[in-house]
């Protein structure tokens, strides 16, 4: 066509149709319409064969349908397309967790967080897997990093408080739990745990030698 083109034309966006389908898939998944979401992701994958996001979406849908094999295949394809796809690792973690392979789940969630410290699913998944394995070495660090970026997220504050308590960092645990309750007075678990922490602290102060 013989028409003047402005400079924006030189950077035309050929991903528009793919973006539309991917967005629609994500929205449909968010409202629980997994069947239509899957259709959208499949079309998106055809339009953008090198994009990992449609496969992440398909993996999420498969997880919802309890199709763990399909889910793992989809997430692994996403990882192959993009070795730094944090969401794909989170997805593999969820699949492993559903298989009760907590060691594998832990590894995948950790890999996700190394790429994206903001991934809440991986963060909480890491905590859950740690609980199952009884090992909390790296969890605290990632929970703290996340809360620095998202202060006031009680879904992360509570597990952190629990870990502090487990590690004997009672004062820190108490502070976090008090913060949780100031944000959410009805957080029963936090209230219960705070009571327990305060009880332990009180006991410790009674057993400490008196000085004159």
């Amino acid at each position: 066509m013989d028409i003047i083109q402005n400079n924006a034309d030189q950077q035309h966006d050929s991903t528009q149709h793919y973006e539309t389908l991917q967005e629609m898939g994500d929205c449909l998944a968010s409202v629980g319409d997994y069947k239509q979401a899957q259709e959208c992701y499949e079309k998106a994958a055809v339009l953008a064969p090198d994009a990992p996001e449609p496969y992440v979406g398909l993996g999420v849908v498969a997880l919802q349908n309890n199709q763990l094999d399909d889910a793992e295949i989809a997430f692994k394809i996403a990882c192959r397309l993009d070795a730094n796809c944090a969401k794909a690792y989170a997805g593999l973690g969820m699949a492993a967790q559903q298989r009760t392979d907590y060691k594998q789940a832990f590894e995948m969630y950790l890999k996700c967080l190394e790429l994206d410290t903001d991934n809440l699913i991986a963060l909480l998944g890491l905590f859950q897997a740690s609980c199952q394995m009884g090992s909390f070495e790296k969890v605290t660090h990632y929970l703290e990093v996340y809360l620095n970026m998202h202060p006031g997220d009680t879904s992360v504050m509570f597990p952190l408080a629990a870990l502090y308590m487990k590690d004997g960092r009672l004062e820190e645990s108490k502070k976090v739990l008090q913060d949780v309750l100031s944000l959410d007075q009805n957080h029963k678990d936090a209230a219960d745990l705070l009571e327990e922490v305060q009880h332990i602290l009180a006991q410790e102060s009674q057993t400490e030698p008196q000085t004159q």
């Binding site: 066509m1 013989d2 028409i3 003047i4 083109q5 402005n6 400079n7 924006a8 034309d9 035309h12 966006d13 050929s14 991903t15 528009q16 149709h17 793919y18 973006e19 539309t20 389908l21 967005e23 629609m24 994500d26 929205c27 449909l28 968010s30 409202v31 055809v46 339009l47």
Partner: protein
């Protein structure tokens, strides 16, 4: 058809479709014409020496179809002229064999032309559809964007084309004034005609999307794309078009006479004339006063060059007087031999003069000095000055006649819109999307092309994470002129706000436009997407 019936049906519109070896896409293009809501059509398909497509044409079985089947390949201009010759319609529209109309295209433009705007040309907006071609020739749609939605700008049209030919419809009888397609051109043939149309009429821009044209990913098979690769040939075509002058009278275009002053024929003349030819896009005639002996030695095939025989001893001011008697233009430019010629050299002062008609004034090009003096004035003012003060030099006579000469101020220069647009695009390239968004909004408020600029502003604000502003703009745009871009934008913002259902509605509309715009338009709901959300 009787006159009464034609009155009911609306005037006849001839749709011209040249084709060459693209039967698959031609079939889609033809179907889109036959599906028009406007029925009074004459559809002329010209096979420009391609493979036989008789079966395809006859398969449509529509009496409105006329098929011209030529065995020799003669090129697009020839085919269009052949079709024009056959066209009986009051109006003419165009369609390439790989593009498509939406069902409302012809009706939209006919309504525009039949309304009392005085315009004899109307044009709409089209989607540029980026696609990937699969091995079986099917198109996989990647995106649809309205790249340009520019209100008619005659001055810009002289520089280059800004109206897609497939979007355009004009009165058939205008071709008698403009002349037919130039068969010596092999690119930019659309612009050539559109530019000539601008000499005779204003264009009415309808800001509705009424079709789409295709841009395959990677190397295009378009002839125009291939031919642009030969830069010299491309330039030849550009310069041929820029120096084309249809026959007068020109109801909508002024004319310029450039009076070139030199003592004798020398090599420098050739260089200056060549520069003028290469850098001037406003319609002009170049007058070269020379002694008879020099005229006979002059070897130039430059179009629009008129030699004026003068006595060798005639002073330059009197040479101008001699030339003035022959000029039939509204504006005169005086240029000395050796004057530095570059892009916009005469268009800048000329535009300033055209847009400041009150008061006696003239404008000097930026490079004008006392030694190499140049100016653009109205013929009327120059004649007055020369009659009043024939014994003075031209510049002195103008001054004595009270004609103020100056360089144009920045705000008097042409293409203010384009300069601002360029600045906004640069801001985007530098990543300053907030600044770009503000600039687009400023341009929308202070210049033409409001809708186009608002769309760009919405996208820029989104990239700048100013979701409030982006949401406001995209919401307003989607109420009346939704595009895939603005629908997707508003959907993303809705999703950010966790309003998934609203986002889904918007995305479904976008997807319909991408996948099947014809069905989307044919089964269009009463409400626009934004109105549907409000209704819910």
């Amino acid at each position: 058809m009787t006159k009464n019936n034609e009155k009911k049906a609306g005037p006849l519109v001839s749709v011209l479709i040249p084709t060459f070896n693209r039967p698959k896409y031609l079939s889609i293009a033809l179907a889109s014409v036959l599906r028009q809501s406007y029925r009074n059509l004459q559809i002329i398909v010209v096979n420009d020496g391609g493979k036989d497509i008789c079966d395809l044409i006859y398969s449509f079985d529509d009496p409105r179809l006329i098929y011209i089947n030529r065995k020799e390949n003669q090129g697009k201009p020839f085919s269009l002229n052949e079709a024009l010759n056959r066209a009986d319609g009051k109006y003419v529209a165009y369609l390439d064999d790989d593009d498509l109309y939406y069902p409302n295209h012809i009706e939209t433009l006919v309504n525009a032309l039949e309304s009392k705007t005085g315009c004899q040309v109307a044009y709409s907006d089209f989607y540029k559809t980026y696609c990937r071609i699969s091995s079986d020739g099917r198109r996989q749609i990647l995106s649809k964007v309205v790249q340009v939605s520019r209100d008619f700008d005659r001055f810009f049209m002289l520089l280059f084309n800004h109206v897609l030919h497939v979007c355009l419809m004009h009165r058939r009888d205008l071709i008698d004034k403009t002349g037919t397609y130039n068969e010596k051109l092999n690119v930019l043939i659309d612009w050539d005609i559109t530019r000539r149309l601008a000499f005779f009429t204003d264009f009415h821009h309808v800001c509705e999307i009424t079709g789409e044209y295709y841009h395959p990913e990677g190397e295009s098979d378009r002839i125009s794309v291939q031919r642009r690769k030969d830069k010299n040939e491309y330039l030849r075509n550009v310069l041929t078009i820029r120096t084309t002058r249809p026959s007068k009278p020109w109801p909508k275009m002024k004319d310029l006479s450039i009076i070139f002053l030199t003592d004798r024929l020398n090599k420098q003349i050739g260089n200056t004339i060549k520069s003028i030819w290469q850098h001037t896009f406003f319609p002009y005639k170049l007058y070269l006063p020379l002694p008879e002996s020099d005229i006979n030695r002059l070897n130039s095939d430059m179009s629009n060059l008129i030699t004026v025989p003068i006595n060798p001893s005639t002073p330059q001011s009197n040479q101008i007087d001699t030339v003035l008697q022959r000029c039939d233009s509204e504006y005169i430019a005086i240029v000395p031999n050796g004057f530095p010629i570059k892009d916009m050299w005469i268009e800048n002062p000329l535009y300033a003069l055209m847009n400041n008609p009150d008061g006696r004034r003239g404008y000097e090009p930026a490079s004008s000095t006392n030694e190499l003096w140049s100016a653009v004035i109205t013929k009327e003012d120059l004649q007055f000055a020369r009659r009043s003060f024939p014994n003075l030099s031209v510049s002195e006579s103008l001054k004595a006649a009270g004609i103020i000469l100056k360089h144009p101020e920045i705000e008097e220069l042409p293409f203010q819109f384009d300069n601002l647009l360029g600045q906004a695009l640069s801001a985007e390239k530098e990543g300053d999307f907030s600044k770009a968004g503000q600039m687009y909004e400023y341009i929308a408020e202070n210049h033409q092309n409001e809708l186009w600029m608002q769309r760009l502003a919405a996208k820029a604000f989104f990239k700048a994470a100013d979701y409030t502003r982006a949401a406001e703009l995209s919401h307003n745009l989607n109420r009346q002129w939704p595009t895939v871009d603005t629908l997707l934008l508003q959907a993303k913002i809705k999703r950010e706000n966790k309003d998934f259902n609203s986002a889904i509605e918007l995305l479904k509309t976008a997807e319909q436009i991408l996948e099947n715009p014809v069905r989307h338009l044919s089964g269009s709901t009463i409400f626009s997407p934004a109105q549907t959300l409000e209704h819910q």
